[in-house]
Amino acid sequence: MSPLDKKLLRDLWRMKSQAAAIAAVIALGVLINVMMGGLINTLEETKRAYYERYRLADVFAPAKRAPNRLLKDIAALPGVAAVEGRIQGGALIDLQGVDVPIRARVLSLPESGSPRLNDYYLVDGRRMDPTRDDEILILNGFAKAHGLKPGGSISATINGEKRTFDIVGLVQAPEYLFSVAPGELAPDDSRFAVIWASEDALAKTFDLDGAFNEALVSLSRGASLPAVLSGIDRLLDPYGGLGAYGLADQTSNRFIVEELKGLRSSSTVVPPIFLAIAAFLLYIVVSRIVQSEREEIGLLKAFGYSNFAVAAHYFKFVLAIATGGALLGCLLGIFSGCGMAQLYQNYFKFPFLAFEVEPRAFIMGMTVSVLAASIGALFVLIGVFRLSPAVAMRPPAPADYSRTMALAQFIKLRLDQPSRMVLRRLVRQPMRAVSAIVGIAAGMALTVTQLSVLGSFNSSLDLSFSVIDRSDLSVSFVEPIGQKAIYELKRIEGVIEVEPFRSVPAILRNGLRSCRGGIEGLQSEPHLNRAVDKEVKPIYVRSDGIILSKALADKLAIDPGETLTIDVREGRRPILEVPVVAIANTLLGAPAYFERHALNRAMKEPGRVSGAFMRIDTAHAAEIYRTLKEMPIVAGVNVKGEARQAFQRLMDEGAGSVRYIMTAIAAIITFGIVYNSARIAFAERARDLASMRVIGFTKGEATFVLLGELGVITLAALPLGAILGYALLQLVASGFSTDLYQIPADFVPDAHGTAALAVIVAAAFSGFLVKRDVDRLDLISVLKTRE
C-alpha cells in the first residue's frame, strides 16, 4: 500500500468521530430518500399485484334491478373483458354492547366457485356452503375490531328483515382495503362492516331473483373507460342505473390512491430537502477538514507530488466519508423501507407485500453526497494550490487581528481574555461563522417544519370538528324523505337541536374537469355544521349559488362567478347549472355547499331531507342511539367523536406515521449538524487549546473558548432557523396535503419553540461531548507534531 493510502486510512481513523458524525448525517439524508422511495414503490406494486391477483373490477355499475341477461349485452360492449353481476345492499348490524347501530354492506357471492371479479382472500375459517343460506363471510378488520370469529353468529337487518347469520370465514378484499362508513371521511374498521352472503339468499331478501343490482366489469387492454362507462349507462338506464363509475372513484381505492399520493408527494418534496441540508453540512465539514490539512498539502507539493496526485489523495479521503455515509444510508434505507412497508401492510390490509426498491433514490443519494464532498474539497484544494508550497506549509497563517482592533479596544475593559478570544475568532473568520450558523439554522428549519406539519394537523382537526362541525352526531336516512322525520328526531328525549340537511350525490363538472362528490344542502344560517372562510368566520350558505371548499375549487379550477355543472346521480338525475358564489376554507374533505331549499327546488323535490345534524345531551346518548337504531328510516348514525378519533388514527397510522418518522429523522439531523459544528471547531482548535493549556489556562477556560464560540453561533442560528423553517413549511405544506385533508402553512409558535429548545439541548449535549475531549487533550503530542 502506498504511504499516501496509509496516511488516508490513519487520518480516517484519527478523525473517526468527526468522519462518523458527518457520515451519519449524510446517511440519514440518503436513508429517508431510499426508505420513502422503497416504501412507496412497494406499496404501489403490492396494490397493483393485489388488485390483479384478486381480479378487482375496473368499473362498478350500480342499478335498481337489472335482469341477468343484460350481463351478456354488457360483455358484448367493446373494451369489456369480463362481467360479473352481483347483488349488494345496505344493512345495519346489531352487536351486543354496541349502542350505535353499525352500518354494513352486503355483497353476494356466486353459488359455486370464485367470483369472476372482485375475489376475496380467506384469512380464517372456510368458504360458504352453497346449500346453506344463513352462512356468511365477514370482513376481517371488522371481525377483529369486535372479536368476532368463525363459528360465531351475528344479527343483521337487511332490507327491513332482521336475521341471524353464522360466520364461517373472515376475509380480506381488495375492494375494501379501507372501510369507510358512508358520509364519513376517515376509515374505521369497527364502524363499518362488509358481509358476503350467498346469491340465492340475497336475491330473496332484496327480491332480485334472476336479476342483479350491480355489474362489475373489467376492461381489456387499451379500452376507453369513458366509452365503456357511457355504454353501460345506456344499457342500465331503463333499469334504474345510478351511473357507472371507474375504479378511480371507488371509495376504498380512492382512499388508498389518496394515501399513496400523499405519501408520494410528501416524499418527493421533503426527503430531498433533508438530503440537501445533509449535503450542505457535508460540504462545509469536508472543506474545513481539507482546509486544516493545508500544511500537509504544501508538504506533499514540496516533495514534488503533482496537484493531481494530491487532489486524488484528498478526494479519496472525502469520498470515503461521503460514499461510506451514502452506502450506509442506502442499506439502512432499504431495511427501514421494508420495515415501514410491513407496518403499512397492516394499515392497508394487504395480504402480502411485493418489495420494490427505488433505484433513483440510490443514485440521487450517491450523486448528491459525492458532489457535495467533491465540490467542498475542490474549492479548498484550488485555493491551496494557488499558494506556493512555501506559503502553504507555513504553520497556521499569521493571524490578521488588525480587523478586530477596534472591537478589541471597545471590549477590552469589559471582557476577560477567554471571552475576547471567542469574539476575535468569530470576527476574524466571519465566513466560517456564517456557514456554521447557516448549517445549524438549516438543521433547525427541518425540525421546525416537521413539527409545524404535525401541529397543523391537529389544528386542522380542531377546526373541522370543533369550529366547522359543532354537532354531536349526524343521522342519515335510508332515502330522502319529508320534513316530518325531523320532528320525529326532535321528539326524542335528550335531543337539544336538530338541523336537517339534504345531500345529493353528483358528478361536478367544470369544462373538462370533473369530480365525483355531492352537494350538501344546509340550513341558510347553519348552527351545527357550517362553512368557514380563511379567517374561520362562518359563511352563510346561499340560495343563489354554491360555496365550494378550497380543495374542490382547486381541483375543478373554478373561481367565484363561474358556473358549475352538477350532474346529479339521484332521483330524476337532473343536470343543474349553478353559479359558484364563494370559496370556503375547509381542511378536511372537499365539500360543496348549497342552501337546502334551493337545492330541493333545483331537484324539483321540495321539502326533502337526507339526514340531520344533532346536538344531544350526552347523558341520554345511549338511549338516543337505541331509539335511532329502532327507527326504520335511519340508515346510519355518525357520532362525531368517533369520526374524529378515526381521523386522528388515520393521521397517526397512515401517511401520518411517516410524518412522525420524518420528524424524528429531522431531529437527529439537527443534532448531527450541531454536533458536527462542535467537533470540527474542536479539531481546528486542538492546537490552540493545547497551547492555552500549556501557558496556564485552566481546562475550564480552554473549554470556554471553544464552547463560547459554539454558543454564540447556536444563538445566532435560532432566529435564522425560525425564518428558514417557516419558509420551508410554505414549500412542503402542499406536499403533505391530499384531497382528503389540507395542511395550512400557518405559523405554529409551539413548533418554533420546541425546535429552538431542541437545538439548544443538542448544542449543550455536543458541548458536553466535546468538553470531554478537551479534558483529555494530550498536550505533548499535539504540540510536538507539525512543528
Binding site: S2, P3, L4, K6, K7, R10, D11, R14, E295, E296, L299, L300, K301, A302, F303, G304, Y305, S306, N307, A309, S388, P389, A390, V391, M393, P395, I780, S781, K784, T785, R786, E787
Partner: protein
C-alpha cells in the same frame, strides 16, 4: 572560469511579499553562485531573507524578479508543473520544523518521497544512514526533536537528490545531536557529491562549509571561502 560547474546561478534575485504600504522586500537583488558538490552555509540575521532565498532555490516559492538557473534550466521561468517535477527529481528538503506527516511512521514518511523518486535509496537504507533503523515504526509524536529531524534528513536524502536544501536543520537541537545531523549531511555530500545548502544561526557551522554566504537585509553581504573544511565532529557551539 568554467570548472567546477555551478549548481545554482542566482542573478539579481528580488522577492517582495505583499504590495503597497505593507510590501516587504525580503530579497533586494541577490547575486550568488552555488558550486556543485560543495557545502554552502547561509548565515545572517533573522529576517535577512535566508529562508526566502532557499525556498526559491528549491522551487517552493517564486521570485518577484531576477533569475535562478539550476544547471541549464531557468527556475524563474518554469511553470507550476515544471517546478513540481524539478522538486520531485532534483531537490531534497530539510525544514526547520521537520514537517513530518504526523499520521505516518518514520519509515512511511521516507517512503512518501521514495514512492515518486526515480532512483531512490530504500527507506530502510535512508534511515540507516541517519542511524534510526530501530525507530522506523515510530510515529513523529513518539520521537524526540532530534530524531524527527534525522527522519526529515533521511527523507531528504532518500531520493539521492542533486541538491540538499536545509533550513536550520540543527536549530532546535543540542550541540551533540546537532553535530550528528551535520555529520550525516557531510557524509551525504562526500559519498554522493550532493550539493548541500545549510541555513544556520550557529556561526561555527560555517567551518564545515566550502563557502559561507552572509546575507543582510535581502542582499549578499559577504562570501567567505574555507580552504580547509572542518569535520562535523570538530565543530562545537
Amino acid at each position: 572560469m568554467d570548472s567546477p560547474s555551478l549548481a545554482f546561478k542566482v542573478r539579481d534575485l528580488t522577492k517582495i511579499y505583499g504590495s503597497g504600504v505593507s510590501a516587504v522586500h525580503a530579497l533586494r537583488g541577490v547575486d550568488l553562485d552555488v558550486r556543485e558538490g560543495e557545502i554552502t552555509v547561509l548565515l545572517g540575521a533573522s529576517g535577512s531573507g535566508k529562508s526566502t532565498l532557499l525556498n526559491i532555490l528549491g522551487g517552493l516559492d517564486t521570485a518577484t524578479a531576477g533569475s535562478v538557473h539550476f544547471g541549464r534550466e531557468n527556475l524563474t521561468a518554469m511553470s507550476d508543473d515544471e517546478l513540481t517535477l524539478y522538486r520531485r527529481n532534483h531537490v531534497g528538503f530539510v525544514f526547520q520544523f521537520y514537517n513530518l506527516m504526523p499520521s505516518l511512521t518514520a519509515f512511511e514518511n521516507v517512503e512518501l518521497v521514495t514512492e515518486i523518486a526515480t532512483s531512490p535509496l530504500s527507506p530502510g537504507e535512508a534511515l540507516d544512514v541517519v542511524g534510526l533503523t530501530e525507530r522506523r515504526d515510530h510515529f513523529p509524536a513518539q520521537m524526540s526533536g532530534g530524531e524527527q529531524q534525522r527522519v526529515a534528513i533521511a527523507r531528504a536524502i532518500a531520493k539521492q537528490p542533486e541538491v540538499l536544501l536545509c533550513d536550520e536543520p540543527t536549530g532546535a537541537l543540542d550541540s551533540k545531536t546537532g553535530r550528528m545531523v551535520l555529520k550525516v549531511l557531510q557524509d551525504v555530500n562526500e559519498r554522493l557529491s550532493t550539493s548541500v545548502l545549510i541555513i544556520t544561526h550557529a556561526a561555527a557551522t560555517a567551518d564545515l562549509a566550502d563557502r559561507a554566504v552572509y546575507l543582510a537585509d535581502g542582499r549578499v553581504k559577504d562570501i567567505v571561502v574555507n580552504e580547509e573544511r572542518k569535520r562535523a565532529e570538530e565543530i562545537s557551539w
